[in-house]
């Protein structure tokens, strides 16, 4: 047996630095509806065994029948475990008749009889009302903590505590770990976030981690803030085709495998098309590529693709379309990583960064996530192409508003140029990290074969 109490969810365990410390007191705080009871029951059913059962004690704010009735709708709720592995008991009546002293005696009795590995008290905060005065509650708290620490078991104390309570309530001093479930206001919507307030004897992931509640329990998306910068020189030195032969020649025979490339340009210039070149070229060479798009739904994308003799039915293509409505950045990034894991993809096209930025809430978080995502991809030799819309139709003066161009290994600018009463498309390699590149601006055309690069413009061309 390890010294960690696991939840059944790797991501949740990772937030706690590998699981909650076993044989500790864990305080779970949050407002009504934040998922405290669901989280506790997740641990209960994952850890309970006939030898080391879990005891779930309801107090007075939440009747036992109600906890059970709602519990039934959870996937992991196992009625066959009731009474043997999972024991539900109601402390309410004892509390009403004999107060905290009676509750303490009953808890002691239950510990002796069942020898549990996990004890949940829901709601713990409701116990306060049974103390004649604050010192009385403190006394009860220490008596209870002393009993709970005598046997090898973890206990969860659940309460509707606000953030403002945290420093004053004695529970917070006694607890070994504090888990808060709350919400973050983001534009017009609330985002559920889990944070770790205290974790004795262990490191944990800092900050707020988005989570979702479903019948499968609490699904957390740990905040991405990968600290270590990946050293490109330590990465792959294999070159890979961009899908446009003339462009490969401009960047010394293609991009490095594992590199990230920003494709920037105004609407209609062909950014999506260049990203598709990158993906379908990979597929032709047996590499799986993910098209992660918010812009075109599958039917729309199919129409575009069919114009260029490609097909979404290609086995090397994984389409990941997500509507930007009600999308959460955290979920999306994990969704993408799961898709990479499932398909073994080595190329990803993200179309577009603007859509992701719009759902990210704040800019710092957006940069952290994209930075972490690109780092993880680089470490795994997965190449990423990202499209980014610039607002100026002509004479692009600014590239990325959120610093993505700094995070990218390569930056390619696509723009419209005027001259000779004609609208021309132009491509420039602005940056190609770790390799020499052709600095000229080249004209290109979109044909049924896709993007076809032409010659550099002559000096008379107006570049503004």
């Amino acid at each position: 047996m390890t010294d960690r109490l696991l939840s059944g969810s790797d991501r949740l365990d990772a937030v706690f630095g590998g699981g909650l410390p076993r044989n500790s007191i864990v305080l779970i705080c949050g407002r009504p509806g934040s998922g405290k009871t669901i989280l506790a029951q997740q641990y209960v059913f994952h850890n309970a065994s006939a030898d080391r059962p879990a005891i779930y004690l309801s107090t007075v704010s939440e009747p036992l029948d109600k906890i059970l009735r709602f519990g039934q709708s959870l996937d992991f709720f196992d009625p066959a475990a009731l009474g043997t592995k999972v024991i539900y008991e109601d402390l309410g009546q004892t509390l009403n008749e004999d107060g905290l002293t009676g509750a303490l005696a009953l808890i002691t009795e239950l510990l002796k009889r069942h020898r549990p590995g996990l004890v949940v008290i829901d709601s713990f905060r409701a116990l306060q009302t049974y103390a004649p005065h604050p010192e009385g509650f403190r006394g009860f708290l220490h008596e209870l903590a002393a009993r709970l620490s005598v046997l090898p078991m973890t206990s969860f104390w659940i309460g509707e505590y606000n953030g403002a309570d945290t420093s004053d309530e004695p529970e917070f001093a006694v607890a070994d770990a504090i888990v808060s479930l709350g919400t973050d206001r983001e534009a017009d919507r609330d985002r559920r976030v889990l944070s770790v307030g205290k974790l004795r004897g262990s490191g944990s992931m800092s900050g707020k981690h988005a989570y979702r509640l479903s019948s499968a329990g609490l699904d957390v998306f740990p905040r991405m803030a990968d600290p270590v910068e990946f050293d490109r020189s330590g990465g792959s030195h294999e070159r890979m085709s961009t899908g446009v032969p003339a462009l490969d020649a401009m960047v010394s025979d293609g991009f490095y495998r594992g590199a990230s490339t920003l494709l920037a340009g105004p609407p209609g210039i062909g950014k999506t098309l260049l990203a598709l070149h990158f993906i379908f070229t990979g597929a032709q060479h047996g590499e799986t590529g993910i098209i992660a798009t918010f812009q075109e739904n599958p039917a729309q994308l199919e129409r575009i693709i069919n114009g260029f003799s490609w097909s979404l039915d290609d086995p090397g293509i994984e389409l990941m379309y997500r509507s930007p409505v009600d999308l959460y950045l955290d979920e999306w990034v994990y969704d993408l990583l799961d898709t990479v894991h499932r398909t073994g993809a080595t190329r990803i096209a993200i179309d577009s960064m603007g859509d992701l930025r719009a759902v990210a809430g704040d800019e710092i978080r957006f940069r952290e996530y994209i930075y972490s995502l690109l780092q993880r991809c680089a470490r795994a030799d997965i190449s990423v192409a990202m499209t980014e819309e610039v607002s100026e139709l002509f004479g692009v003066t600014r590239l990325s508003e959120y610093g993505i161009s700094h995070l990218s290994d390569n930056v390619i600018l696509l723009q419209f140029l005027r001259g000779d009463s004609q609208l021309k498309r132009a491509l420039t390699v602005l940056k190609s990290r770790g390799s020499a590149h052709d600095p000229s601006t080249r004209q290109y055309e979109i044909t049924t074969d896709g993007i076809v690069l032409g010659d550099p413009f002559d000096p008379t061309q107006d570049m503004t």
Partner: protein, 229 residues
Amino acid sequence: MEEHPADGVYSIGAVARMLGVSAQTLRAWEDRYQQIVPARSTGGQRLFSRDQVDQLGFIRDQIEQGLQPADAHRLLAQQRHEDAAALSAVESRHGESRASPDGTITVLLAERDRHAAEFADYFLRTEGYAVRVVFDPDLAAEILRDEPPSVLVVDLLMSGGAGLALCRTARDIGSVPVLAVSAIELRDQALAAGAEAFLVKPLDPLQFVSTVRDLVGTSAYLRRAEGRR
């Protein structure tokens, strides 16, 4: 112990008829002792396996021979954990077990934490041991010399290093095996001072009781049950 639902064959009514024990009693045993818990059908009906019927038959026989239902269930739990070989080994060592002449096995529990003492006392008593709890190391040393127990359980963190001193006292007396316990890892110190076993707190009840049982040579309950045969 996992029971696959497919193992369940007999309804509670059938088991009651087979054993001559009322269904009400069977349900009460299940609730109270959690030893023989039948599988449930999808409709929630109890389904007992052949093994469980045998076990219930064993319980019934023990009660008919004069054991309390609780003791019979404990005896069953014991037997389920020990295979026949271990049992016969215990019987062969019968003569050398550390019980006092009246068959009582006494545990001297020298503790510093009253809650830890309360639980340890409870778990030992439910296994049939007589327990004497002391919080004063001097008193513990006195008892060790004057009325040596069958086994000493000592918390090494008793005030002023008295725990290790008690281990040495027991070693000097020679006949009292020592189980040392402590919230921190002091295994080497404990063994060097003469303890025969060491456990880190918090103590797992099953492990604790089985360690004591190993030190005294046999289970208190088993001895009594054997004595009655």
